[in-house]
């Protein structure tokens, strides 16, 4: 006898302007549960950074900085920049798999903001980046690295790195939404990231590069983030690099977020 209706015997929370954020949070929780269930998916933000730290410290330390201890001061921020960039491929792969498995069709047929599934995926990734920074700094400490400024500057650096990661993530998200397979996502993102991470100040000072490469490396958004982290954690004037980093964050979001949202809306 009862004709089904949306509100029938269901107690629905008032619709409001915060729906988008609430729905994003629901979807971020979905990512977190999945991360918790498949911890091996965290290798790129746990074991890989440890491996990179050990390899780079002992292979290049002596040659580049004269000693491993001196190199660590330079290297840890550089590695954080590099690994944040590498870890961003994960979100592209996740979105691609969500799309191919049809779960996005379910979300798109629900009365939720079209931004929520993307924002949710990005928010769910914060945990990965926190873990990455923690492990990286922890490994550094074990090898003799020390933050020589104050806790507030350290925290500021962490927040800046996470913000950068979240803004950069829109690019691999876009790739994830247009590429036709997970393998393609991985190929495209890494192909872009390798030059971006190595043609930067992450591992060597840019002064030793040929001038054209140094020009690229100095303008590289990752270089600004890495420079900002070095200043914030080891002392120095951090205002300019932090400013440049924030500017790049804005640029990433302004360019890639609308494209990603459009790709998500279009994808059949």
């Amino acid at each position: 006898m009862s004709t089904a209706s949306v509100t029938h015997d269901v107690d629905v929370i008032q619709q409001g302007p915060f729906d988008m954020f609430r729905h994003s949070w629901v979807l971020a929780k979905r990512s977190l549960v999945k991360t918790w269930r498949t911890p091996e998916g965290l290798i790129d933000v746990t074991l890989s950074p440890i491996m990179f730290t050990l390899l780079f410290t002992f292979i290049f330390g002596g040659a580049i900085a004269g000693s491993t201890a001196d190199y660590l001061v330079f290297l840890i921020p550089g590695l954080i920049g590099q690994n944040i960039a590498f870890a961003s491929v994960g979100i592209g792969i996740q979105l691609n798999s969500d799309m191919s498995k049809g779960i996005f069709d379910r979300f798109r047929a629900l009365p939720i903001s079209r931004v929520a599934p993307l924002l949710g995926a990005a928010l769910g990734d914060v945990v990965r980046y926190v873990l990455l920074i923690g492990i990286m700094v922890g490994t550094g400490y074990a090898l003799g690295y020390r933050v020589t400024t104050d806790p507030l500057s350290f925290l500021g650096g962490c927040l800046l790195a996470i913000l950068f990661a979240l803004c950069l993530a829109w690019a691999p998200m876009l790739v994830g939404l247009i590429a036709r397979s997970e393998r393609a996502v991985q190929g495209i993102v890494f192909m872009t990231l390798f030059p971006l991470t190595f043609a930067s100040n992450a591992f060597v000072p840019t002064e030793t590069m040929p001038s054209w490469l140094a020009a690229f490396a100095n303008a590289n958004p990752l270089s600004h983030l890495i420079e900002a982290l070095r200043m914030l954690w080891s002392g120095g004037d951090w205002h300019a690099p932090v400013g440049w980093t924030l500017l790049w964050c804005a640029v990433f979001v302004i360019i890639f977020a609308p494209l990603a949202i459009r790709a998500y809306n279009r994808k059949a």
């Binding site: 089904a4 629901v26 779960i103 379910r106 629900l110």
Partner: protein
């Protein structure tokens, strides 16, 4: 809402680059009824469903679902529909219960009512025992059921089922049919696409046949069967020496004295007008003490339906069979 139709589409057109996926189709699902959209792969069934479920925009025509225009008020439509696609669009890494909680939360249901609704749906779909396992451990049939449960979370007025039983074995298919009947009993309107005439016949009040993006017939299952041709009664006698007796019995029930056909070696068939022929034949076989290993009443296959319908396209017998063509001209 003034309309008595839960779904109403007029002249839907959709082109994908060179391909004309929909050439102007009309569909109507009266409130509380089931419309079966029957057609082969690539006929445009899924495209039509995706437009009605607001996942795709039509290039022409318009459609209303639950009283709202799909192009102008998509979010009002989304509040009132459930969609179950050909593949289960549920999260494999979450448990059944988590999937339902997530959907409920996205529908703005409070924690309390989302828990209650998930519990209710899991019981209804016989998934209570598997509720707290991740979907990776579910069988194909269980995933389909959970997918359907997810679509019903928000008590939708209209449910779209896009080939809900494709790939399921016959027993699971029947289970799914029971569920669909149950949904309709609770007042939900259903648009169901299928490649099986049998399925449309079992569930739908009305059937629309589409081919190459056009509606080629629209009728009730019974009338459609009459248009397409009769059903076929098949008998395989256990004892080959009784063939003549069997043939004599079959000849008596055959439509318009049609000849008995040896469908496969040892298996004989005749076209019959309706179901009552089955009972007649069973009675006569028993009276004459003929044992049979197989006895079945078959609906015409989809191929036969299409052969008949497309062969008669120039002078259609079904009332609305020209609808698609008229639309194409006017588009």
């Amino acid at each position: 809402m003034t309309s008595d139709n839960a779904v109403e589409a007029e002249g839907l057109v959709k082109n994908f680059k060179e391909t004309k996926a929909l050439k102007g189709i009309d569909l109507a699902v009266p409130r509380g009824s089931v419309l079966g959209v029957l057609g082969p792969n690539g006929a445009g069934k899924t495209t039509a469903v995706r437009i009605l479920a607001t996942l795709l925009r039509a290039d022409g025509g318009h459609a209303k679902v639950a009283g709202y225009d799909v192009a102008k008020k998509p979010s009002e439509v989304r509040k009132r529909i459930g969609l179950t696609g050909q593949y289960a669009s549920v999260d494999e890494e979450l448990t059944g219960r988590e999937n339902l909680h997530m959907i409920a939360a996205l529908l703005n249901m409070s924690g309390r009512s989302s828990k209650a609704r998930a519990k209710e749906l899991l019981e209804w779909f016989d998934l209570t025992d598997a509720a707290d396992r991740t979907l990776k451990t579910y069988s194909g049939g269980m995933r389909r059921r959970l997918d359907l449960a997810a679509s019903l979370t928000g008590h939708p007025e209209v449910v779209f089922l896009d080939e809900p039983t494709t790939g399921l074995d016959p027993a699971k298919r029947e289970d799914m049919w029971d569920v669909v009947r149950d949904i309709v009993k609770r007042g939900t309107s259903v648009l169901l696409t299928t490649q099986y005439l049998e399925e449309a016949d079992a569930l739908a009040d009305d059937i629309v046949v589409i081919n190459h993006g056009e509606v080629i017939a629209h009728d009730t299952a019974d009338k459609l069967k009459r248009v397409v041709g009769s059903q076929t009664l098949r008998v395989r006698p256990s004892d080959a020496s009784q063939v003549d007796t069997v043939n004599a019995i079959l000849a008596e029930v055959a439509t318009d004295g049609a000849p008995v056909d040896e469908y496969r070696p040892g298996e004989y068939s005749v076209p019959v007008v309706d179901d009552s022929a089955l009972a007649t034949v069973v009675g006569k076989l028993a009276a004459q003490q003929v044992a049979v290993t197989e006895l079945s009443l078959q609906l015409p296959s989809l191929d036969e339906v299409f052969f008949t319908l497309t062969g008669e396209r120039q002078r259609p017998t079904a009332d609305d069979a020209t609808a698609g063509q008229e639309q194409e001209v006017s588009a």
